[in-house]
């Protein structure tokens, strides 16, 4: 179903990637990807999380080496061994995480790594200022970096790449750190660079930005190119969303929700800040009832992670309140929330849910060791039999229970974690990305456990990036985008596309409860 625009002479293409394959253990990230970018254009690379965009761009930028495939720049074949190779061939990448030194000035950051052995500060500042002027990047070269906003820091990152004379600029989700005004400004800057003869590859999830800024678009899905070099002037965002999320394989062959009980979890106009001090989400309100499993869909980075943190008590809320089992838990500690019936399956399994350097037994008893004490000691026999019980009931395949937890496979880690959290029969279950990275069996096992808990009368909140999973598993689906709930859907009557449009912040998306 690959769609291609009119054939172009190969040597005219600034970038051509063909038949690119890249596998990581257990994951095929790129399975024969094609990408053609013409000079003087802004080219969008679209796809859901895990579609293979970042892998492909890391290959182009020399970070990864492809298993197979060809890379041509202006018709000439290249093989990059490292990012320096790619850079000297004119490819520069602006990563999502900035790589800047706060105590250095803007100019010093720009020339860092490619500076002459003697740095003449004035001269370099003048040169950086000239380059910034040319493309309309308004920054003061002498200003120390720590004083700059995120948007300004991004300009410094762009200047860094331009300074190294990159002809192909890759911007990995550049607008996530920007305010709407800054997004418009970035669009103008990119247009100037394209007019100057460069080409820009623009990775984004936000369709309306892509429509405004980009000339052409290539869409990836599950490691393959599903549409290449679409002309943005003639493609509407509904079509793009359809290409990104694919056809709906929904098959709701599951038990219907039991009759709804009382609300067990209630959020009232809850707001919280993210790690950078900016609002991660604001004024979120919803209820989850006994016997109901509610899903939160959304592209990563739209406030879901922070929402989970706040419900679990690991991040303070700034406004609003959180009610659990009729008790106000807005300021309660994580332990108080556990005691009042919250089971939490965190997104970061080995960093938050489990202690990576300790044994399987030590990890299994995290919630109950206080009950296994005799005097100052933890009774080893009780701990071991508890661990054995969890391992057997939740079918964790583990050898030596005294061995390190990190030796378990991803699926078994998650079975242990989920088993431990569900063992106390929590009335509210919060599961963040509970099946991510698991194999088919593992996914099924975890989903069954969550459904079982729901059928036993618990309120389950499931945050996932896997839309198919949410559509098949949940009773109600909320879409989170830009830190707010964009819509509420009934997964039995909603198509994948409708939800996809809301996730991608298409203005035409409507709430359809």
């Amino acid at each position: 179903m690959t769609q291609t625009s009119s054939p172009t002479d190969e040597s005219q293409l600034a970038v051509q990637l063909s038949e690119v394959w890249k596998t990581f253990p257990g994951v095929v990230a790129n399975a024969g990807v094609e990408l053609s970018v013409r000079p003087r254009t802004i080219h969008a690379l679209l796809g859901e999380n895990g579609a293979g965009k970042s892998t492909l761009m890391n290959i182009l930028a020399g970070v990864y080496r492809p298993d197979r495939g060809e890379l041509k720049l202006h018709g000439r074949a290249h093989q990059f061994r490292n990012p320096a190779d790619a850079l000297s061939a004119g490819i520069g990448m602006v990563h999502q995480e900035f790589r800047l030194i706060p105590s250095f000035s803007v100019a010093e950051n720009v020339v860092l790594g490619s500076a002459p052995s003697v740095i003449k500060t004035r001269q370099i500042e003048a040169e950086v200022a000239a380059m910034a002027d040319k493309f309309g990047l308004r920054v003061d070269p002498a200003q120390p970096l720590w004083q700059l906003s995120m948007g300004e820091r991004q300009k410094v990152e762009i200047l860094k790449v331009l300074w190294r004379d990159a002809q192909v600029l890759i911007l990995d989700e550049p607008t996530t750190v920007l305010t709407p005004g800054e997004v418009d400004e970035l669009g103008e800057i990119l247009r100037r660079m394209a007019d100057d003869g460069r080409c820009i590859i623009f990775i984004s999830h936000k369709l309306h930005e892509v429509s405004e800024i980009c000339d052409e678009a290539t869409v990836l899905r599950q490691g393959k190119t599903v549409a290449s070099s679409l002309d943005m002037a003639t493609t509407d965002s509904t079509e793009l969303a359809r290409l990104m999320v694919g056809a709906s394989p929904t098959s709701p062959n599951r038990p219907a929700a039991a009759t709804l009980g009382v609300p067990l979890l209630e959020l009232k106009e809850l707001s919280a800040r993210g790690d950078r001090g900016i609002d991660a989400f604001s004024d979120i309100s919803f209820q989850i009832h006994s016997g109901e499993i509610v899903g939160i869909a959304g592209v990563a980075g739209n406030g879901q992670r922070e929402l989970a943190d706040v419900i679990a008590g690991l991040r303070p809320s700034t406004r609003g309140s959180l009610i659990m089992n009729d008790a106000d838990m807005t300021t309660a500690s994580p332990r108080q929330r556990f005691l009042s019936g919250l089971g939490y399956i965190p997104e970061d399994r080995l960093g938050v849910g489990l202690a990576p350097r300790l044994s399987i037994t030590d990890n299994a008893i995290l919630r109950v060791y206080r009950q296994q004490r005799r005097g100052p000691f933890i009774v080893a026999a009780k701990a071991l039999s508890y661990c054995k019980d969890i391992v057997e009931r939740f079918r964790v395949r583990a050898g030596d229970l005294g061995g390190p937890i990190a030796a378990l496979s991803g699926g078994n880690l998650q079975r242990l974690l989920v088993g431990r959290e569900l063992d106390s029969q929590p009335s509210v279950v919060l599961a963040a990305q509970p099946t991510r990275g698991l194999d088919v069996q593992g996914v099924k096992a975890i989903q069954d456990l969550l459904l079982e808990r729901r059928n036993a009368g618990a309120a389950v909140l499931m945050i996932s990036e896997d839309l198919d999973e949410l559509l098949t598993l949940t009773d109600r689906l909320l879409v989170m985008e830009g830190g707010t709930i964009r819509g509420e859907f009934n997964p039995r009557t909603t198509s994948r596309q409708e939800v996809g449009l809301a996730m991608l912040a298409d203005t035409k998306a409507v709430s359809r409860p």
């Binding site: 253990p25 690991l314 849910g353 202690a355 100052p376 933890i378 030796a407």
Partner: protein, 361 residues
């Protein structure tokens, strides 16, 4: 050309650390041989003297064990903090604080019965070391101030305090104007077990044993290990991090202080400027080689003590004491270097890693 790189193993090689230590010793011996040959010495003669002096007979063992006692306690102090991911770099100063506190008790309790005096002296040493760690502990627990800096700087405070005492108020008038405190009264000295080996050995062994058991088997130690493995996991399970940091750093300081008290009553017999003798810094090395496990500290301290005593003994053969220091350094380099390979494997470029370095699609 294929370039090698390191890749994390799923689990450390079993028995990797003792093996690493053996490799470290071998490397040190090899480098030492070259060094000694270069300086015109006979390596065989030097090495056999080192062995004789440190492990060749009860008298040699006694000296080595007496050295292993402060090394082991200081190592334990660092390791206990380290098992929670904290760095106590101030054991050197805490040893001095402990020795000062014990000396003070000996000054006021000179006519108490021996057992009472010694017990009170050691308790005072424990308190003195702990007291010096209270400031850094509160600063770290309440304000997040880096404990490496604060504990390190307090070393300077402690050494100046010792200097002031032995040049000033506590100066021994009978010491011919040398800056020394007076000798301890006889009943304030630890009795010996055999040869010159004193009871400090039993005290250190008991403290190390109790600490290992506490870290391994108590709820307190469990919470410590959880917090050391992942702070987020500790918060998630409701462990109070700040209280843990506070108690652990103070206990760590107390154990280092105890090392100072034992060294004073067992070996030094009076407060001098060199009472801590670098044990506090050597303790960091001991703890690092024991992988911050209290149970490993005893073995490492014994081996390290032997290397130190052996190194000192060869000075009478005309070998500079720097050679022994260099040998110690190479044991450390070798062991830590070899330790890397119990946790990492070497891959040639192009080989697939067992654990992906970065799966980021």
């Amino acid at each position: 050309m294929k370039r090698p790189r390191l890749n994390l193993r799923e689990a450390p090689l079993p028995g990797g650390q003792p093996l690493a230590f053996a490799i470290g010793l071998t490397i040190a011996l090899f480098v030492g041989t070259l060094l000694l040959l270069g300086a015109g010495h006979d390596p065989v003669r030097i090495y056999s003297r080192m062995f004789e002096a440190s492990l060749g007979g009860p008298d040699a063992w006694a000296v080595t064990l007496n050295r292993a006692v402060p090394l082991g306690l200081a190592g334990l102090a660092v390791a206990i903090a380290g098992s929670m991911g904290l760095w106590n770099i101030g054991a050197e100063g805490q040893i001095m604080a402990g020795a000062i506190a014990a000396s003070w008790v000996a000054r006021i309790g000179g006519d108490w019965p021996g057992l009472v005096l010694i017990v009170v002296m050691l308790l005072a040493a424990l308190g003195g070391g702990g007291l010096l760690a209270v400031g850094p502990a509160i600063a770290r627990a309440r304000l997040g101030v880096n404990e490496i800096i604060t504990t390190l700087m307090l070393n300077e405070v402690a050494i100046r305090l010792v200097q002031w005492l032995i040049h000033g108020p506590w100066k021994d008038p009978g010491a011919h104007n040398f800056p020394l405190a007076p000798m301890l009264p006889d009943q304030a000295r630890l009795p010996t077990l055999f040869s010159r080996a004193h009871y400090g050995l039993l005290i250190a062994a008991a403290v190390i044993l109790i600490s290992s058991l506490a870290v391994r088997y108590t709820a307190w130690g469990y919470e410590l290990r959880i917090a050391g493995s992942s702070e987020a996991t500790a918060r998630y399970s409701g462990i109070s991090l700040s209280r843990k940091i506070l108690t652990v750093l103070v206990i760590s300081g107390g154990i280092a202080g105890l090392a100072g008290g034992v060294e004073l009553t067992g070996t030094a017999d009076r407060l001098t400027e060199s009472i801590s003798n670098g044990f506090g810094f050597a303790g960091i090395i001991v703890a690092a080689l024991a992988l911050m496990r209290p149970s490993g500290v005893a073995v490492v301290a014994l081996l390290f003590g032997a290397v130190q005593i052996g190194g000192q003994s060869i000075q009478t053969l005309g070998v500079s004491s720097s050679v022994s220091t260099i040998l110690q350094a190479f044991v450390l380099f070798g062991a830590i270097g070899a330790g890397v390979f119990s946790r990492y494997r070497i891959l040639l470029e192009g080989e697939a890693p067992a654990v992906p370095e970065k799966v980021n699609q």
